[in-house]
C-alpha cells in the first residue's frame, strides 16, 4: 500500500502548529472526498479561525465566509446547486458562539449539506480565549483562573443540543487524538458526506481536536487532554442517525 497525498489536498506544508488537529481533519476530509469521487463536485466553506486558510490546502472550490455564517452561505449554495456537494468546516467559536443561530436553523431546516465541526475548546487564532466549549476549570486568556461554572456556565454540547431537532439526519462526535479515533472519525465523516449524496439532509460530525499551543501543553500532553478531559464532557458517539430505526 502506497501512502500518498489525496488528490483533494495540495502537496503543501500547512501553517498549523505542531500537534494541532486541523491537519488530521483536513487529511481525513481529503481522503473521503477522493474515495467518494466527488472532488470536482465539491464546494467547501472556510471559517473565520485557524482554518480560514484551508483553501490553500484543499484542491476544490472554496468560499471563505464571515464569522459564524457558513451555514447560511452553504444553505444558498446547496439550494442553487443541489447536485453539488457542499460542506462547512467550522470551529467552536464560529459554530457554537457567533454562528449559533445560523447553525441551528440550517440544521432544523434539514439543509442537505455536511458540517465538520472541529471542537478544540478554545479560540485558537485570536490567541486562546474562552470558547463556548471550554471545559469548566480550563484556563484561557479570558478565564485565567479557569472557566467558572457559575460565571461562564457549562460548555455547550452541540451534538446533544442538535439531537432534539427533527430536521437533522445524522450527528456523531468523534476525536482525532489517537489513530483508532481518527479511523472512527473518517468513517463518520464519510457517512456524513454519503448522506448528502443520498439526499438524507443535514449531517454534522463533531471532531474533538488538539490545540497544544493555546492549551499551553506539549503535543503529547494535548492528546492526553482530549482523551482524559474532553471525552469525559464531550462523550464520543452517535447522537442521531435517521438510518437507525
Amino acid at each position: 500500500m502506497k501512502f500518498k497525498k489525496p488528490e483533494s489536498l495540495y502537496d503543501r506544508n500547512t501553517h498549523y502548529c505542531p500537534g494541532c488537529g486541523h491537519g488530521i481533519v483536513h487529511r481525513i476530509i481529503g481522503e473521503v472526498i477522493d474515495e467518494l469521487g466527488i472532488r470536482e463536485e465539491t464546494i467547501g466553506t472556510a471559517p473565520v479561525g485557524c482554518a480560514v486558510l484551508l483553501y490553500d490546502y484543499f484542491n476544490f472550490d472554496v468560499i471563505e465566509c464571515a464569522h459564524g455564517r457558513p451555514p447560511a452561505v452553504a444553505t444558498a449554495m446547496k439550494r442553487i446547486h443541489p447536485d453539488k456537494i457542499v460542506f462547512t468546516y467550522q470551529g467552536d467559536g464560529d459554530l457554537a458562539a457567533i454562528g449559533t443561530a445560523e447553525m441551528i436553523h440550517a440544521a432544523n431546516r434539514g439543509e442537505n449539506f455536511t458540517t465538520i465541526f472541529v471542537n478544540n475548546a478554545i479560540y485558537g487564532m485570536t490567541g486562546g480565549q474562552m470558547a463556548p466549549t471550554t471545559l469548566v476549570g480550563q484556563r484561557t486568556t479570558t478565564t485565567q483562573k479557569g472557566r467558572d461554572l457559575i460565571k461562564q456556565g457549562p460548555p455547550l454540547k452541540v451534538c446533544e443540543l442538535l439531537s432534539s431537532l427533527d430536521g437533522v439526519a445524522y450527528l456523531e462526535r468523534v476525536a482525532v487524538s489517537t489513530a483508532k479515533d481518527s479511523m472512527k472519525a473518517k468513517k463518520a465523516i464519510k457517512k456524513a458526506f454519503q448522506n448528502q449524496i443520498d439526499g438524507k439532509g443535514y449531517s454534522l460530525v463533531e471532531v474533538l481536536s488538539m490545540c497544544p499551543t493555546d492549551w499551553k501543553l506539549s503535543p503529547a500532553q494535548a492528546v492526553g487532554f482530549v482523551n482524559d478531559e474532553m471525552k469525559k464532557v464531550f462523550k464520543p458517539g452517535v447522537y442521531k442517525d435517521t438510518d437507525v430505526k
Partner: protein, 340 residues
Amino acid sequence: MCQAAIEAGCRFFAGYPITPQNEVPEYMSSHLPEAGGIFIQAESELAAINMIFGASAAGVRCMTSSSSPGVSLKQEGISYIAAAELPCVIANMQRGGPGLGNIRASQGDYFQAVKGGGHGDYRIIVLAPSTLPEIYELTMAAFDYADHYRNPVLILGDGILGQMAEPIELKPYKPVVELPEKDYILDGCKGREPRIVKTLLLRPAEALVEFNEYLKVKYARIESELKLCEQYLTEDAELVVAAYGITARIAIDAIDAAREKGLKVGLIRPITLWPFPNEAFKEVVGRAKKFLVVEMSNGQFVDDVKLAIDCSRPVEFLGTGGGWYPTPEKIFEKIEAVYK
C-alpha cells in the same frame, strides 16, 4: 419591485420580516418559486445577507430586502460582498429611527447607504427611485449594474414608496449595460482549476493595500460612468431645490405652486446617490443664486449638495426627522421664505 426582479432574472431571494417592506418577501415567497427560483425566509437579517453572499457566489441573480434596523444588521454581509466583488441587489424601504424608531417613512439612512455603513473602504451603488414605475425600471437596472460592476446595488426607498399603489406599465426586460461573463462562480471545479471566493488578504503585507487601490480605481470608473439625475425647470431657476426619492415628488408640487406665483424655482433630483451627480449641480450653479435641500432627515443628503457646489452658493435646508414627511405646503412656505 418584485415583478421587475423576477423579470430581470432574479432567482434567489432571502429575507426576514420587518415593516414596512413585508410585501416584498410575501410576494417573493409565492411568485419566485413559480418562476423557478428559490425563496428562503431566513432566521435573521445576518443569515439573509449571508445567503445572498452564497447565492451570488453560486452564480444566480439574487436579492434581499429590509428596512432600516434590518439593513443595519446586514452591513457585515454587505462589506464582505463588496470585498468579494459579488453582485447582488438590496432594497431598504427606510423607516424612522434611530433605534427601533417607528414604521413611518424616513430618509434617515442616507449616510449609512451612501457613505458606507459596514466596515472598511468600500462603495455600493445606491439608487433612489421616487415613483413605483421608477422602482420597476431601476430594479431591473440594479441587477445589470450589479453584474456589470460586480458590486452590491442598494435600492434606497422609504415607507411611503413601500406602501403605496400606483399603475405601472410592464416592459420586457432588456439589459441597460453590458453583462460580463461570470468567471468567478463556484459550482465544482470540473474541467477547470479550483476557484476561491475570499476577502482575507494577509500576505504579503501590501496585498490588501493593492486590493484597496484596485477597488479605488474600480469605484472611480463607476463614478465616471454611472450618474443618473433628473432636472425639472432648472434652465432659468434662481432657486434650485435638491431632493431625492419620495421627497422630490412632494417638492414638485411646491415648485409648481411657486412657478404659478412667478418664482423661478427648479429641482435637481439625484437618482444615483452614489455615485453622486455632482455635474448636474455644477451645471446649474452659474445660474442659481441659492439652493434649498429638502429631505426626510435632519441633515444628511444636504452635505453632499454643499460638496457638489463647493459651498459656492447659500444652501438652505428643510428637514423632517423621526419618520415624518414635508407637505407641499410646507415646502412652498420655505421656498417663499428663502427666495429673495
